[in-house]
């Protein structure tokens, strides 16, 4: 049985598999959790922290993305480390410095025991290519956004088993999607497990999921190419680069409006004003806290936004 490495945000899964271990994105279990952590800012980090501390997640070590993305994870990751979990801290460069990221990947590789199977790089590159094809099907209204999202969000760890995950990708059903408006979902992923289904129930077809698209967009065949690609990780770098990337995708995917999901106590919430100033689309900002089925407040906002886009009062 391969050792399982928990990851708290995007860590190149290619490298973890190439080092002979299996990644587990500890965020992926959060939306289905019923925990209400006593000590928390962001529920995402607080819940995976408590799940690890309580033995509810079967991992052998933890890689904390502590620089360039989630700052709360730096503290919650240390709480996990102090409990005895082998823990490594991974830092993205803000200035896209490829050499710096290469050094970070070297340290990570050493923590993981070194590269043992280089074939995993090309295998996962091919899977990401398949994921991008699925994403295009969604853009062309051939697959439901909720099906695509649940597949794409798992590209951070390929569900711990690339072979089984490929079968999951192959099984996403094609259908003619009917909708009233095309929307993009930017920001961190919603903590509500039924968010996409709820949006669909109001006629909103989510044609762009910002963060999962980053999982597909970045890849490499060795440490140098990984460093070049992942130094472009938009959530870790200057927001002006992220805004440009989003603008390109909004235009390419012909969206009518943008939903900005924000998480309570997450620093990304502060970016809302920047998006509103620089993205020339109707924008709906919603905020979540604890993982629960979509609350009525969210449904009202999605319904009203759908009306705004369709009825154009």
């Amino acid at each position: 049985m391969k050792e399982t490495v928990g990851i708290t945000a995007l860590v190149p899964p290619e490298l973890i598999y190439a080092c002979g271990k299996r990644p587990m994105d500890v965020n992926n279990v959060v939306p289905e959790s019923s925990l209400s952590p006593g000590s928390k800012l962001c529920a995402w980090t607080a819940i995976w922290r408590d799940m690890i501390l309580n033995g509810g997640l079967d991992i052998d070590s933890l890689v904390v993305v502590a620089g360039g993305d989630c700052h709360n994870a730096l503290v919650d990751g240390q709480k996990v480390e102090l409990s005895g979990m082998p823990t490594h801290y991974f830092f993205y460069p803000f200035d896209r410095d490829t050499d710096y990221l290469r050094s970070q990947l070297d340290k990570l590789s050493k923590f993981l025991g070194g590269i043992k199977d280089e074939r995993m790089f090309s295998l996962i590159r091919d899977l990401k290519s398949k994921g991008r094809a699925l994403d295009e099907l969604r853009v062309n209204d051939r697959v439901r956004a909720s099906d695509v999202f649940s597949a794409l969000i798992s590209f951070s760890d390929l569900a711990g088993d690339p072979d089984a995950f490929e079968k999951t990708l192959d099984s996403v059903p094609e259908t003619d999607v009917e909708y009233s408006s095309r929307v993009a979902l930017i920001g961190v992923p919603p903590i509500y497990p039924d968010f996409h289904e709820t949006a669909e129930s109001f006629g909103l077809h989510v044609v762009y999921d910002e963060l999962p698209y980053e999982f597909l967009r970045l890849y490499g065949s060795d440490l140098n190419s990984l460093a070049r690609s992942y130094s472009d990780y938009s959530f870790a770098g200057p927001i002006k680069n992220r805004v440009e990337l989003i603008k390109d995708e909004l235009q390419r995917r012909r969206v009518d409006g943008v939903i900005h999901y924000t998480q309570f106590a997450c620093h990304h919430t502060l970016e809302d004003e920047i998006f509103r100033e620089h993205l020339d689309y109707p924008i709906l900002t919603v905020q979540g806290d604890l993982p629960r089925p979509s609350p009525e407040q969210l449904k009202l906002r999605l319904e009203a936004f759908a009306e705004m886009l369709e009825v154009k009062p």
Partner: protein, 237 residues
């Protein structure tokens, strides 16, 4: 006949329109919304809105964001921003870019906040505007939380401020909360039953640089918007 039925958290309103003109309107407490329905009319000409929009008879049910937009534009086609102060939430709609924000997590800035204050003073909520106009200065009230604002009110009464001055300060705190949600605009229309409180209108007017508009029957704007939407649907049938 085009009927707009707005059943909100506190009151239910109905507007009947014919040939683009309002021919009938009525307001009752929410629990008595059934009085607004005429059995002979059926639901085929009703567009409903408000919290209970899906619980009452309707041909179509739409949110208050859409009805407020339609109803406000009926009064002023060039209005830029709408502030709908409801019993349980406040909605700010920017018609220039089809965006809106809803405050429904905090009572400060909603009708519930004023109900709480009126209950404390044991006075009708409808008298707050008149008492506001009798004050020449206001007591400082924080705008952070409706519940804690009551304890602040008590402190200011203990400190020597009159009830009128405390109510004036309360309206200032209320208006500040609202103003934080409103983008810069030339024209802002205030709607919703709470806007019948002239103290609120005065305080918001002092807080914002925009031209403040209050339509004749601010509590009926959403029902009016629903009737206008019914008119659209009938025109396209």
């Amino acid at each position: 006949m085009n009927i707009g039925l707005d059943v909100g958290s506190t009151t239910a309103k109905v507007v009947h329109m014919e040939d683009g003109e309002v021919i009938f309107s009525k307001v009752v407490p929410s629990q008595r919304w059934i009085e607004l329905i005429d059995d002979e009319q059926g639901e085929k000409n009703i567009v409903s809105t408000g919290y209970f929009r899906k619980k009452v008879p309707h041909f179509a049910a739409i949110t208050e964001i859409t009805t407020a937009s339609l109803g406000a534009r009926y009064h002023d086609p060039d209005v830029q921003v709408i502030v709908d102060i409801g019993g349980q939430d406040t909605k700010v709609i920017d018609l220039r870019n089809n965006t809106f924000v809803i405050n429904d997590k905090c009572s400060a800035g909603t009708g519930a906040f004023l109900e709480l204050a009126a209950h404390y003073f044991d006075i009708p909520v409808g008298s707050l505007g008149e008492l506001h106009s009798q004050a020449t200065k206001g007591a400082q009230i924080n705008n952070t939380c409706g519940v804690f604002a009551i304890s602040e009110m008590i402190s200011q009464l203990v400190g020597g401020f009159s009830m009128e001055e405390v109510i004036y300060g309360l309206h200032q705190a209320f208006a500040l909360r609202i103003a934080q949600m409103v983008p810069p605009a030339d024209t802002v229309m205030l709607i919703g039953g709470t806007v019948q409180n002239t103290g609120i209108v005065d305080a918001v007017n002092n807080m914002l640089d925009s031209k403040i508009e209050v339509p004749g029957a601010p509590q009926l704007v959403n029902a009016l918007g629903a009737a206008l939407y019914m008119e659209r649907l009938n025109d396209s049938r």
